[in-house]
């Protein structure tokens, strides 16, 4: 099969859809859209279109990343620009059919922006709105624009042209191109991709393996999910190119079972690519064979570590082994193996579809290209973003993210998940690249950015991550197995008011020991959240230990609830809500909390009607 025939056919279909004579409605239907009700929205559109007897395509697309505005809908009318709407529920969808599709009136209230070839004077361009402006979408270029279930949409947008180009080159030249692009691994450590490939290319042996790590385990990160759900063929194309470069004929996608939709779309994409001879035996008639199999992860964070992931694919407990030999020399079944992250491989596809210089024009000297981040937590505009490396953190959080909601004060941002650390407010100007982040004591990680405000307790955050690391420790080596447990015990003492000032030093020396003594990346990085919070928020630890106070009012033993006498009307609601009968008082009389019975669950505060606001939470303990 010739790719050119496919391209001609695909381009025709694509042009007809986005520039043709039939109107179209595009509904964002990734996991984020679905949880906001996009499945119902699709149905509402279909029903109304049928009822009104008009012709209109309803297309399911991925997520453009503006998760806080879900469900997202784009409407195309022949001759007019594509209009992007936010928060479209079933009611709004039905109304849009009449107002936009029939009467050509744009719903200004729900308008985000338009996508057009020629600037529209009256309407804002989607790419110019504050959230989008600083972004450069290379990896995510198709997400939210194409139907992930339609191979033609992908092909019409340069899809698989990277594979066609690759087939005209020698494997060494492909590696050379990736070297020129400056691409570094997007999974965490940032090792140059080409160098890893070269090791494997040079390794002896005829059977080699390529593994894509799609076991996105960092809590607070969903970049890979979004890409797999919105543009699965990008990953397949990247994998074909990587396999060609290193000389592998079998590849595995190790994807977590918690991503059911991503798995469905990946399976379909593999089937479509195989049918068109883009994958499988004799790819595009070149004689190059490459097969992809999916392995569902079973829920183990440590499997993000290369050797543990390999053990898991082999059917064993996901426990790492000492290196060397590195997987590039002896990996899966003892054969040379390359493990790359989803975003790395999708970047490879883009680099080959375009050229290395196109990719390396973005970013900094040492960190080239773009990076996707999941911007979540206490930030106005949550969602998935892609920015050039080297952009300042401030720009991400305040320009793109729109700052912290409810007029709260920004406190810190956590990067790199449980292996990373917290960056405090005074370092907001830091450039987001591998080396600057390492200097600040954290890592780029896979791209989770969790924003924290004044209501977040940094000691509790450190405890949370340690609890996670301790549970996920595979138990193989003692520093990690016993060390994380010890550190967690100390942190639990501190958050429950039983800490001593010597604990701080002990945490620091233990953290240092665990980093040096652990076998794999999990243990070597597990103390990072504690060490960075100790570095930047030591006063909070001291407050917990010395003053027995949690200023953020998070740690249960270091806060209390009380009823304000001048506001309580004796409505009796809190009395009924209290699970421990700690509240006393009769109807229409002032109520009181018995602190000795109170378990500080906060239910009384939640239930107290807003018009009274008679219950307050205070830091410390009532004397």
């Amino acid at each position: 099969m010739d790719l050119n025939n496919l391209v001609a056919e695909a381009t025709k279909e694509w042009k007809e859809l986005i520039k043709g004579d039939t109107p179209a409605v595009f509904v964002g239907n990734a996991t984020c859209g679905r949880s906001a009700g996009s499945m119902d929205v699709i149905e509402a559109f279909q029903q109304e279109i049928e009822k009104q007897h008009i012709e209109c395509n309803v297309v399911e697309v991925g997520c453009i990343g503006l998760c806080y505005l879900e469900p997202l809908v784009m409407v195309y009318k022949p001759g007019a620009p594509l209009v992007c709407y936010r928060n479209i529920g079933t009611k709004e969808a039905t109304a849009l059919v009449d107002s936009h599709l029939i009467k050509d009136t744009i719903n200004q209230e729900r308008l985000i922006g338009v996508i057009s070839d020629t600037p529209q004077a009256a309407l804002p361009e989607l790419k110019d709105i504050p959230v989008m402006k600083p972004q450069v979408r290379l990896v995510l270029q198709n997400c939210g624009h194409i139907d992930p279930n339609n191979l033609n949409h992908y092909i019409a947008n340069k899809g698989y042209s990277g594979v066609a180009k690759m087939l005209t080159l020698q494997p060494e030249d492909v590696i050379e191109r990736i070297k020129e692009s400056g691409l570094r691994g997007r999974g965490g450590a940032g090792f140059p991709t080409w160098r890893k490939w070269q090791f494997c290319r040079d390794a002896k042996g005829t059977s080699k393996y390529l593994i894509c790590n799609a076991d996105e385990g960092d809590p607070g990160a969903f970049m890979n999910r979004s890409l797999l759900e919105g543009d699965p063929h990008s990953l397949l194309e990247g994998m074909i190119i990587a396999a060609y470069a290193i000389g592998a004929s079998t590849g595995y996608i190790y994807c977590r079972a918690e991503y059911p939709l991503a798995l469905v779309r990946l399976r379909l994409a593999i089937q479509q690519a195989e049918e068109q001879k883009l994958l499988g035996d004799d790819i595009l008639g070149s004689g190059f064979n490459f097969h992809i199999k999916i392995k569902e992860g079973a829920g183990a964070f440590v499997c993000g570590e290369e050797t543990a992931l390999i053990a898991s694919i082999e059917g064993s407990r996901g426990m790492p082994r000492p290196r060397p030999p590195f997987p590039a020399i002896a990996g899966l079944w003892g054969k040379p193996t390359i493990i790359n992250n989803v975003e790395t491989l999708a970047s490879v596809a883009r680099i080959m579809q375009n050229d290395p210089a196109w990719f390396s024009q973005y970013g900094t000297e040492m960190s080239k290209g773009t990076k996707t981040f999941a911007l979540v937590g206490k930030v106005q505009n949550t969602g998935l973003i892609e920015v050039p490396l080297g952009i300042s953190l401030k720009e991400i959080i305040f320009d793109i993210g729109g700052g912290v909601p409810n007029n709260k004060k920004f406190k810190a941002v956590q990067t790199g998940g449980p292996s990373g650390g917290c960056i405090p407010a005074h370092l907001l100007d830091i450039a987001m690249d591998y080396d600057s982040l390492a200097q600040a004591g954290t890592i780029m990680g896979s791209g989770g950015l969790v924003v924290m405000d004044e209501d977040t307790c940094m000691v509790d955050v450190a405890r949370y991550f340690l609890d996670f690391a301790q549970k996920e420790s595979c138990g193989e080596c003692a520093p990690c197995r016993l060390g994380t447990k010890q550190m967690l015990d100390i942190l639990e003492d501190i958050t429950s008011g039983k800490g001593t000032i010597e604990d701080i030093e002990l945490l620091e020396s233990m953290g240092d020991g665990i980093k040096k003594g652990s076998l794999c990346g999990l243990g070597q990085t597990a103390p990072n959240p504690v060490l960075t919070t100790l570095r930047y928020f030591r006063n909070e630890y001291e407050d917990h230990i010395i003053n027995k106070k949690c200023t953020a009012k998070v740690c249960r033993d270091l806060k209390y609830y009380d009823i304000l006498p001048d506001k309580c009307t004796g409505c009796h609601i809190c009395f009924k809500a209290c699970p421990t009968n700690a509240i006393s008082g009769t109807a229409k009389q002032l109520h009181q909390i018995d602190q000795s019975l109170c378990i500080k669950c906060g239910m009384c505060l939640d239930k107290c009607p807003v018009k009274f606001n008679a219950i307050e939470c205070y830091a410390g303990n009532k004397i």
Partner: protein
């Protein structure tokens, strides 16, 4: 050996590397991994039972008790944590009168916590039989369980 296991085994070659997919298929079908199912898997793959147990207990996905008809997965990701997931869990536990990791006696509900659902921009969130419920508050939990679950 029950018939359903035989049907599942037919889809596999009996190689050791198939252990995890096999456990996943059996759990998908039966809802959990019983002692006898794991014994049969060991026999089928010709590996020691200890290996099957070792692998099954290592991964968070596998459960050894049946799950409820309404299976609730609570996200414990970072974004959910800072936005109040612990409080949401407490509210669910109070409502259903079971704890995390438990199944109610009538097999109606079960609660499980997972590392991250990947819907971080909609934190805090849970899934009920794989349907995501996002942006939760204790009040919303109350409404959700009163309306749909009882």
């Amino acid at each position: 050996m029950c018939e359903c296991l035989e049907t599942i085994f037919k889809k596999f070659k009996g190689k050791e590397e198939e252990l995890i997919p096999l456990l996943q298929s059996v759990q998908e079908e039966a809802g959990f991994l019983s002692e006898s199912a794991m014994r049969d898997i060991a026999k089928f793959l010709r590996i020691p039972q200890s290996k099957v147990h070792g692998v099954a207990t290592f991964y968070a996905q596998f459960r050894f008790k049946p799950k409820g008809r309404k299976h609730i997965m609570l996200c414990r990701g970072t974004a959910c944590h800072v936005k109040g997931a612990p409080r949401i869990l407490e509210e669910i536990e109070n409502h259903l009168e079971i704890k995390e990791g438990e199944t109610s006696a009538d097999l109606e509900h079960s609660i499980e916590s997972v590392a991250c659902i990947g819907a971080c921009s909609l934190a805090p969130c849970i899934t009920v039989n794989n349907k995501v419920h996002a942006d939760l508050t204790p009040q919303k939990i109350e409404a959700l369980f009163n309306k749909r679950m009882n």
